[in-house]
């Protein structure tokens, strides 16, 4: 049976991510063993990797680095073995070069760019950006297929990734101007929103991830 490793590094809502993936698997007919883990060997061997993340950028980066061998194992799976990788929310932000939430924190450096405070051009718009907003695909991608004409997904964040290269941007969302809602490169995909909390649209995207063969 193929395996999916959700990286468990002390950040928030891993249970929701696990249940949502299991549900998407069951409905999409995917046979897959989903585990929450911080064991480097399990991660390095996994067929698919999901990096969740909720909260403060520096805390998440610290939590990830504190698990011995985990970053190396993720890199082994994602780069040496080319396994599909999905980063969610801060898990997506960690793919960037650097995070600038309160303090400057290095990220994994996979996607060129920095994570910065949202700056909508309408100053009356509340921060955090919280709720359902529309995903606009800028680069066709297997994970974004069949989401419907105007897919709504759930966001809850104050910071967003500014990508150096438009090539890495898969989808944007408008909140007083566009911000990066999803990044993609080769076998890597990152979602600023929460597919695990985006009802049917999220289930579809997760199912797409499970059948993705980059």
């Amino acid at each position: 049976m193929s395996t999916l490793a959700i990286i468990d590094y002390g950040s928030g809502n891993v249970r929701s991510v696990q249940r949502a993936i299991e549900s998407a698997a069951a409905h999409g007919g995917h046979t897959i063993n989903v585990t929450l883990t911080s064991d480097p060997e399990t991660i390095a061997r996994a067929d698919r990797i999901v990096l969740p993340g909720v909260g403060h950028y520096a805390d998440c980066a610290e939590g990830l680095a504190a698990r011995t061998g985990v970053i190396e194992a993720i890199s082994e799976a994602a780069f040496a073995r080319g396994r599909p990788f999905l980063g969610v929310c801060v898990g997506m932000q960690l793919m960037a070069d650097v995070g600038r939430e309160d303090i400057e924190t290095p990220g994994l450096g996979w996607i060129g760019g920095a994570v910065e405070l949202l700056a909508p051009n309408d100053p009356a718009l509340p921060i955090p950006h919280m709720g359902w907003n529309v995903l606009r695909t800028t680069k066709p991608h297997p994970l974004l297929e069949d989401l419907g004409a105007e897919p709504h997904v759930y966001f809850v964040h104050s910071y967003a990734l500014t990508a150096e290269s438009e090539e890495d941007v898969a989808a944007v969302t408008d909140y007083g101007g566009p911000f990066v809602a999803a990044v993609a490169r080769n076998n890597l995909f990152g979602a600023q929103f929460h597919p695990e909390k985006s009802q049917q649209t999220g289930q579809r995207l997760l199912s797409n991830f499970l059948s993705w063969r980059p």
């Binding site: 928030g12 809502n13 891993v14 249970r15 929701s16 249940r19 949502a20 549900s23 909720v54 909260g55 403060h56 805390d59 718009l125 509340p126 921060i127 955090p128 950006h129 919280m130 709720g131 359902w132 907003n133 529309v134 709504h152 759930y154 966001f155 809850v156 964040h157 104050s158 408008d174 909140y175 929460h194 695990e196 909390k197 985006s198 009802q199 049917q200 999220g202 289930q203």
Partner: protein, 257 residues
């Protein structure tokens, strides 16, 4: 464009819903998980669970409710009640909540909001503010609206947002249960001073009240209990009224019909 959220709210005691619920086709209206599933199917944008369990010992039941809901409903979930410290928030987030509301503890010691935000991120910290009209303004209340904190609500809301609350769940105790509509003056007064999202609560008697809270009160989300639980209005009814008033709403397959 960001959509206005429609949020059904459930009061939960010892793991069971307490406010009268009269839901068609629901075998056990006392089961919060069954209700959550029903609202999920209706296209609710978020769910709110408020734990009104009296004793700390029985709080485990709430964690169980959150876990079972999060296992079945892949939608945003806000949970409140009895939250005193950052670790209480962590426990609820681990169980499957996305945001945690804090009331009494943060009114008595506002700095706890900073500690909570540092621990779980400001986006997960909701300041549940229970207020009553006092003279020309509004006062903050604690302990489920029974005790005056002797604090001005507008000033406190501003401070709470500065300290780390990522959202204000604003309940008018004067209107709660009256069905006279949300307190629009209160909403506007708080809107003027905070930059975080505001959830209107207390007083919804019909769907027009919800539209007013957004178009006249400046709310980012509307929360209601009875009118949903008694089947007087569906989530789709609420969204139609909001849309008619010019507010952006999210249509799902369920609500589009």
């Amino acid at each position: 464009m960001l959509k206005v959220r429609v949020i059904p709210c459930l009061d939960v005691k010892d793991g069971r819903t307490v406010k009268g619920v009269n839901f068609v086709d629901l075998r056990d209206a006392g089961d919060p998980v069954a209700l959550a599933r029903a609202y999920d199917a209706q296209g609710a944008d978020e769910l709110c669970f408020l734990d009104i369990t009296a004793s700390v010992e029985e709080r485990g039941a709430m964690i169980n409710v959150i876990e079972r809901t999060a296992d079945a409903c892949f939608m945003p979930l806000t949970v409140g009640g009895g939250v005193r410290k950052p670790d209480d928030m962590v426990a609820m987030l681990k169980a499957g909540a996305d945001k945690v509301a804090i009331n009494t503890a943060a009114v008595l010691e506002p700095e706890i909001l900073t500690a909570c935000a540092r621990k779980v991120g400001a986006q997960a910290v909701v300041m549940a503010l229970d207020v009553r009209r006092e003279g020309d303004g509004w006062g903050v209340y604690t302990h489920g609206g029974r005790k005056s904190a002797g604090k001005d609500a507008v000033a406190f809301a501003k401070r709470a947002a500065e300290l780390g609350a990522g959202e204000i769940l604003l309940t008018s105790m004067d209107r709660d249960g009256t069905r006279d509509g949300y307190d629009l003056d209160l909403l506007r007064a708080i809107r003027d001073v905070v930059h975080v999202p505001i959830v209107a609560s207390g007083g919804a008697g019909n769907v027009q009240h919800m539209a007013d809270a957004v178009s006249l009160g400046g709310a980012d989300a509307v929360l209601a209990a009875s009118i949903f639980h008694f089947g007087e209005a569906s989530v789709a009814d609420a969204k139609r009224a909001l849309a008619a008033a010019g507010a952006p709403v999210r249509w799902t397959e369920e609500t589009a019909a």
